[in-house]
Symmetry: C2
Subunit: 375 residues, 2 copies
Amino acid sequence: MTQSSSVGIVTPQRARFDAPLKLRSGGVLPGFELVYETYGTLNAARSNAVLVCHALSGSHHVAGVYADQPGNVGWWDNLIGPGRPLDTDKFFVIGVNNLGGCYGSTGPASINPATGKPWGADFPFVTVEDWVDTQALLADMLGIERFAAVVGGSLGGMQALSWALQYPGRIGHALVIAAAPKLTAQNIAFNEVARQAILKDPQFHGGNYYEHGVVPTRGLALARMVGHITYLSDDAMAEKFGRQLRHGKPVYSYDVEFEIESYLRYQGDKFAGFFDANTYLLTTKTLDYFDPAFAHGGDLTRTLSSASAEFLVVSFTTDWRFTPQRSKEIVNALLHSDKRVSYAEIDSVAGHDAFLLDEPLYHGVLSAYLANVQV
Amino acid sequence: MTQSSSVGIVTPQRARFDAPLKLRSGGVLPGFELVYETYGTLNAARSNAVLVCHALSGSHHVAGVYADQPGNVGWWDNLIGPGRPLDTDKFFVIGVNNLGGCYGSTGPASINPATGKPWGADFPFVTVEDWVDTQALLADMLGIERFAAVVGGSLGGMQALSWALQYPGRIGHALVIAAAPKLTAQNIAFNEVARQAILKDPQFHGGNYYEHGVVPTRGLALARMVGHITYLSDDAMAEKFGRQLRHGKPVYSYDVEFEIESYLRYQGDKFAGFFDANTYLLTTKTLDYFDPAFAHGGDLTRTLSSASAEFLVVSFTTDWRFTPQRSKEIVNALLHSDKRVSYAEIDSVAGHDAFLLDEPLYHGVLSAYLANVQV
């Protein structure tokens, strides 16, 4: 067995695109920037590049640490590095902060050149398809004609799926993890609660809170609390927190009594301290809109018939945000359109969050699959 | 088959209790009032009374309509009336608004005699056990020594269960529907989101919003939206709303796009227009605290050994708030302590809300069970 390690110290880079970008929402950006990171080395044939797409709150910082922030570990660091499933001795891995994000790529907090003020509420809606287009522009800039693989979990998996549909000639493998071909009404409902929490926060100021020097932290914290409930399984919450009382008995107060309350408040407040509320709003809409089969009368099989990538689809047994059934919709549609697809349903107690964790069976599946990806 | 009908026009009544009431939270009320309704006729032996307990947002108005409000139908009207499962030709049925409520019983919006102002944040926490005590005081006042049955769904089912434990000699049958022996961490988590939405609403004013002439409607609406998601099954939402777009296509706006958004906003706003935020807060805590086995080291079998009622436990297949598994915990503990218990798991797409609906199989089970209850 190979010894595995982290990629170590990494440095974000910045790409500038000066041509106007027309978005599917009808909005136009006069130009934009993307921040990204790379791990490993692009080979001479430029055939070993892998794009990692992030989910709702993720970023371009997928692996490694920063020299001046040794505690700031990439969100999928356990997956990427020499000897790890996404082996940087073999692959050249790219992480990119999506358009509309709040980690350095052009987003609602960026300056709108037309006004000299932050875009705020005027930042246009962006779709998964728009993101994929901008990722393709970044690939062009880096001289990458074709990705060996595009990989993502949750909303990231939707991007991998969309890559296979939008640029079938530019992607060898799509790894679609803990995702779904579109949101259910219940998924949209949770997003809508999150949005209303932010939109109704008096500090939101119609999206232009930057100018007021405030942040809608209350709404954003609530949104994140709701999100966290859907990321964890009922069983995982029972295991981690159960009905543990902070004081051993009820004290009859609205302060923390049960440990689960403390966890949620902490996660909510922490998130509200660094994430941009407009990016959160935009991204929940990006999720809601994703529905590649919509243009094909809802026929996912017909939709996927244009793909030429090979697929690995992975789901987790206790994921109730995107259940294994949702992954099977993708798998079945791929099979019905005669595509090559592998499917793994991983037994895990961790719920949706499992895609971020280092579960041996899960990482074993990814390692085995990626070992067979030709570069 | 008997023709069934509603109980028709009903009139709420009011009972006043002047003795101080000590609550389990340590709080004391100098006296209190309960509003209640009755349907059918108490027999000469006073042996045919059935108490119906309400859930989070329910009230004493369980059946029938008011003379001046013919559209205001009781929340369990489909269950109660001549020829209905809770047959008022046989039973004398009582509905009561619980202490701390906002439908007329003493609650946070009532005047605190010590200050001459609404109780607001000073209203003491109340537990299921406190509610059962006050319901027993009401029974005393009405000359009812023993209930033929106590019936409830959700939090109402918890009251029925608690009746069997607190007053084993005063209850013949406990009908525990869509309930659980205690909340899970996930259940508490959803309650906590609802509470934080209210507590952080700037119009909450620490619970004393009455004096400010405002209502924390934003927080209360959010709380109700979260609640509604947990009352409906994923499948029911898919059936009712799916991904139906109001305008047939995405319009890229934070206004209503998907019909599920419209439904949630409507339900939230409607609720915030009439329900009291402090009552909502209190009642979520009442739910969190309910855990009769806590005093017995978590041993539900030992806890239930003191009951002498016969039980009917009912669950619904798609209820993910209180799954069938939670009902089976009660059933198994009853079986292990040699109690008489019937159990029905009803196939339904409606989720937790199913307990309020007129599903033939469900009402058939209740009819059959209640027909065999001796009065």
